[in-house]
Symmetry: C2
Amino acid sequence: MYLSDFATEQWMNDHENDAIYNMTDTCISPLKLKDLLALDKQNLLSEITLDYGSITGDIRFKEEILKLYQTGTIENITLAQGCLQANEMVMETLLNNDDIVISFTPGYQQFVDYPKSIGCIVKEVALNEENDWLPDEIALQEAFSKPVKMVILNQPSNPTGSYFNKDRLKTLIDLCKENNTWILSDEVYAGINEDEVSVSDIYEYGISTSSLSKVFSLAGLRLGWVKANQELIHLINVRRDYSIISTGPLADTLGLIALQSKDTLLQRAKSIVKENKAVLIEFLEAHHEFSCVIPQGGTVCFLKYKGNISSKEFALKLLKEHGVFYVPGSCFDCENHLRLGLTRDIKMFKQGLEITAQVLHNAS
Amino acid sequence: MYLSDFATEQWMNDHENDAIYNMTDTCISPLKLKDLLALDKQNLLSEITLDYGSITGDIRFKEEILKLYQTGTIENITLAQGCLQANEMVMETLLNNDDIVISFTPGYQQFVDYPKSIGCIVKEVALNEENDWLPDEIALQEAFSKPVKMVILNQPSNPTGSYFNKDRLKTLIDLCKENNTWILSDEVYAGINEDEVSVSDIYEYGISTSSLSKVFSLAGLRLGWVKANQELIHLINVRRDYSIISTGPLADTLGLIALQSKDTLLQRAKSIVKENKAVLIEFLEAHHEFSCVIPQGGTVCFLKYKGNISSKEFALKLLKEHGVFYVPGSCFDCENHLRLGLTRDIKMFKQGLEITAQVLHNAS
């Protein structure tokens, strides 16, 4: 089953270790294990047996996950080892050769190339920077000219930070209802903004995926989930027997501890993003060779620059000469952009932006 | 992508919690987290940051894995979340529609139904109970009448405990060499017996998979690996970006701690299997309505019984009336058998067998 190289991930793998200023990470500055263990007030870890644990996931953890949503029961949830795997499970369970899938670009490569590897026909609808990185409505409607099996959203989007608000989501659902089109909504970047809507809360064929990796700062637990209608959760659970069996009692219990303190973790994430965003806005006011649609939500945005240097060359120059690390727009087939994470230390972020401006100036 | 229900796993999921006497588990009695932490003499856990960690796996952990083999470097290894996932990664990377795959039955359902879901043609070669659960040589040769893409072994086998010794493996490799046929050898049950050979140590297109779940008693870590030639490891690593990214620093470090004490863990496993096996042999001598090919290696065997009761009915009766839990042969399409694990408390094992004999007697 052929799959192209995953450009962003390969770039991260190849270069991340050379970063001094990590300007591009999508995860809020990660917690240490001891920070997480300090949240374990009930000493839940002490009696864990390292067997497979509950196959579809620890019930207490699923109950905590449920509190992130407006509707459903724990029967609407199953666990995965990260949101990426949750998405993969959904796609491999539902998609078949020749199914039509709608994805949005620039976006996360999994949503285009993974369905293609199954043999699906993927219609790529452009996110329009002029339209705050939302798709033009007519283009979206035209993509529904034939029955669509699945629409894949990223709410908020990596790399643009844009998302469909409730009204726009309802319009999309109206397009989907005619053929019971599934909407897979990767909501791993949700939680920063208050007005986000989980598609699984408002549409029978809406599937919300997420994980503890991004806004909860715990990528190291490799723990995500799917929330969807019970029939689909059952199908995924059957399929999980071929791929993971369970996420295991250790990860589940650590996930439970994390979500029992979700308000603390989310508050930390919101504060970091807010501070970074303020620095970015100030930077843009002082440097008109850069522009950026300030993201409504999520942890990343897509910084645009004026100049003739390619995004790859620019990113490599920044990294090699100054340790300033970005994913270039070329990884998203979108030139003159750099993916900018609002996730790390504010002082480093400020310095990194200034170096970026200086290097662009010297290259022009 | 259609996949049948995984009969054994579904049976385990549906019934395992009702077991008093677990006679069928494939994992050596699992360790508690605190037992594993007690092995952390260097306090490796104290400074872990819960980010993605090293993408293809902690180098120190890969170096410990390498010590389980005779050949290779850490470039020959990549990590997965369990052996099941390691197998899945290998198959989805190498197999395509219409490829011919050879699997052995009775065996683990993943090795037949997963390649089928990709569109492969799966030739099932019988393991012959009369031949100590090894395939008849002519039947195996005949399966190579057309070029074969992959042969899938389970060394030792679940549920039979049989495996290809070095001579037999070399004969198979000779059949494979003509077309560079891959041999995927799931070696998750290896480690109990001394004369086992890892296929990746003796054949360029040999792929060994394993995990910490079975003989290392740590299924709860969800941690496995692939050892294969570097070209394949590279292809799998590229593909992992679409499914797991990494196994994470917490699991990797716990895996490192476990394998630093591998001799202790393996000695424990060997001792438990040996004791159970002795009880089984004694039981068979006293109960001629039962027979069993005593397994050369691994943690399970396939107990045969005389009588008209179906394996499913027998297993349900044992479970519901006495809490004695088996996977019935029907889950392996093989009647009049029960999968017997040599993995648990010796006293319970003895009592469980006696109850099994009593129930069969009453049902006859």
